[in-house]
Amino acid sequence: MPLAATNGRDRRSQQAAGDGGPPVTRESAREAGSPYAPHGDSETAAMLSAVGVDSAEELFDVPESVGFDGEFGIDARGEREIREELRSMLGRNDDLVELLGRGHYDHYVPSLVDHISQRSEFLTSYTQYQPEIAQGFLQVLFEYQSLFVELTGLEIVNCSMYDAATALGEAATLADRVRSASGHRVLVPDHLRDERRDVLENYVSGTDLTVESFSMDDGNVDLAALDDLLDDDAVMVYAETPTVRGAIEEGLGDVADLTHENDALFCLGSDPIALSLLEEPASVGADVVVGDASALGLPASYGMGLGLFATREEYVRQVPGRLVGASDDAGGRRAYTLTLQTREQHIRKERATSNICTNQAWVALRTAIHAAWLGPSGLVEEAERAVEQAQELAARLDAVSGVEAPVHDRHHFREFVARTGSPAAEVASDLADRGFAVHAVDDDLVQVCATDHDEATLDEFVAAFEEVLS
């Protein structure tokens, strides 16, 4: 481990010496150190000499009493070995057709997205603290913001939160800040992913807010129940369309009206594909829109996402996260820059609107490219397919003896719940044995999500479903 001038590798000097010894390859050289530190022995020696030490160890001002011997017990492997290791390890994920959703969706991602997002100028840059040298990424983020201004009808979109759950948490703290009178309650639907609610509860745990749920009426918000719960102590009401069970909300305007009558903010959860077809959030009265924007841009990624955050112009100074704005440069051309940074933690510290710094910018870039590739007609087609496919698949399952699908008498988007008459966990397990993954929602409901599955796959799934229930 100690790095002395003579203890290391120097590909260049050995090659130059031509001493006939074995060539030093990248693989064999790794024993000596990081393959990503380019220093040869002679360079290291010159640098140590310039600094005035014999070994880099002398530069560490670490008291011996807290020193560590460097033995983590982690063996270095070659690139090829690691690729094999991970191919083999991840190969232990069974080969399943996933009909899974509930907040994380696997839509086909076009090759353009992978190839462009891997351009290393995009991939290896960081936050655009020097906008003059980062115009390209800033413009992509500006276009991302613009995409969601169109989809939500709201004027302000930030250029990313971590995921839908943390965006919801940020929405609640924003509501708490902007409301003129103090209040304590955040109301959320009973049909909500547990994890999403759990994140929300952590985000409000440093405030006086509490989270309560209102009941559902056949898969949609129960307006009477919401009305009963609402009072002027509520700061925010949250609803989703589609809901976590895939039902499209039919009474969003009423939810917004009830919410506003009580001087609370209405926060709507959705995603870019649904927003391409469903009612525009601003026109139904949404004050904030959150959601997982990576339904475009990322394939199934074990829950990794992209938090959409949009709101009304009047709240712009309370928005969490980064905003890209247009300005002019010294040459008189339009140019882009991060703006209103005084809201952010690196300037405002404990009075910042959020603690977020590193965000999901590269995922936002992928989402923007995917949306541009689809264009408005492709987006609408994708959304219509999500409605039709859910409807058709539900009808086919409903035709199976003893099955009710969809359980909720609503229009659905991508997914729906079905009652089979058998324990849901057993149905899900039996289907997994046949190569299909579905959700077991509770004791007797399964949930099925169709995104880009082809007809043949869905035929096989329906056949397996029949077999499991026969």
């Binding site: 790095l3 990081s34 310039a50 353009l112 991939l123 290896t124 960081y126 390209g136």
Partner: protein, 488 residues
Amino acid sequence: MKYDQARWTRDDEDVYEPLLSEKDETTVEIGGGSGDDADAASSDADSPLPDDLTRDELTLPELSEPELARHYTRLSQMTYGVDSGPYPLGSCTMKYNPKFTEDVAALADAAVHPDRPERRQQGTLELLYRLQDYLGRIGGMDAVSLQPPAGAAGEFAGILVARAYHEHNGESHRDEVIVPESAHGTNFASAALAGYDVVELPGGEDGRVDLDALEGALSENTAALMLTNPNTLGLFERDIEEIAEAVHDVGGLLYYDGANLNALLGRARPGDMGFDIMHYNVHKTFATPHGGGGPGAGPIGVAEKLAPFLPAPRVRPDEMGYERFEPEHSVGKVHGFDGNWLVLVKAYAYIARLGDDGLADASAKAVLNANYLAEQIDLEVPYGPFHHEFVASASDRDAAEVAKRMLDFGVHPPTTKWPEIVPEALMTEPTEVESKDSLDQLAAAFDAVTGEDADAAADAPQRTAARRIDQTAAARNLRLSWQSLDEE
């Protein structure tokens, strides 16, 4: 070294690469739209939903793939990354991102949904378990949660763990978190998000924690002290054992901000120094790409007594392989699923590639590079001995102006004007990936800029895609979308 960044312009429109919306705007009408709008490229009368559930129309650019490929390629050329040149942005550890890690993250078997049955995702769970183990070893921590999706999310999760621990012990009265004034802004904001009063600790004369000031700040109300070590000046807190003892004596917990862990790999571990909680910035220390602002990942590690409070789920071996479990007194969730999975795969691959020797060598070279670079430039570095980064002072020059001028020399400038303890700070972290030649070029850029007349910076930068951008105008006349440009 000189540099001319690609610059695509449309001079007749006073723009660089036009916006997508300036290339095309197409309106698609939905459902029972009137259909008589001449501008509508297509009209869809066959919507599967009733009109009252749909929007009326959608207006966005409709462009072909070749047009898009060219648009985004031009934009990438007007972006500077680590692969373009030196990127010594202090506190951000902009190291090279090995290409093969992208390939392993793109493996088809990595693309799974977290809700598939546990027995059917054993490969993913094994990787997560192994990464928990690696990070535990590297940090000297007993238990690790991989869930936080960024460093600040790790801080928030860690402070939630501290809070849950104190509450569990009947000490809910602890309502203060102490943060040194030179700490990252996220420390203050994360503690505040968790509901704590933030007590700012003034720095000592040597740039380190002043033990007397710390004693003065500590009390029975102290929940935790958040510390970066080496700190943002690159200095190791030599009194770390006394600091830990003082914090623990009042019943507080010691939190390690992992932003600067790249300085210590194999030399010292936060767990051995007495830290109870830490976060790892895998996009810094473990070379996952910064992606223009993210995604990163901010796993947290804790001492044994805090393991029951970690976010859920964690992963452990069971008789059939691996299983997820919820720690007994878990603080719950800080991410809707299990964090930034693709980033975690890349971090695992990087750690495996380097191993013990490679990790130790990365730190050695990172520290050597910072010391060598500081030696080569004509600026005062008021505090030391520093490790992987140093904070130089531009003294009578405006650090932000110096940075703008440096852009013309093919390098990304340092972090500027922070930490404030150094006047006109240039916080510089070259990382281990720069060669001696590259550092020499970087030093030449520093010296060329600081050696010339200050007026030369006034018109800088000249060689970047855009010239100096008016920040004040951007904030005063907010235009945050192409729609807002149309309103003018």
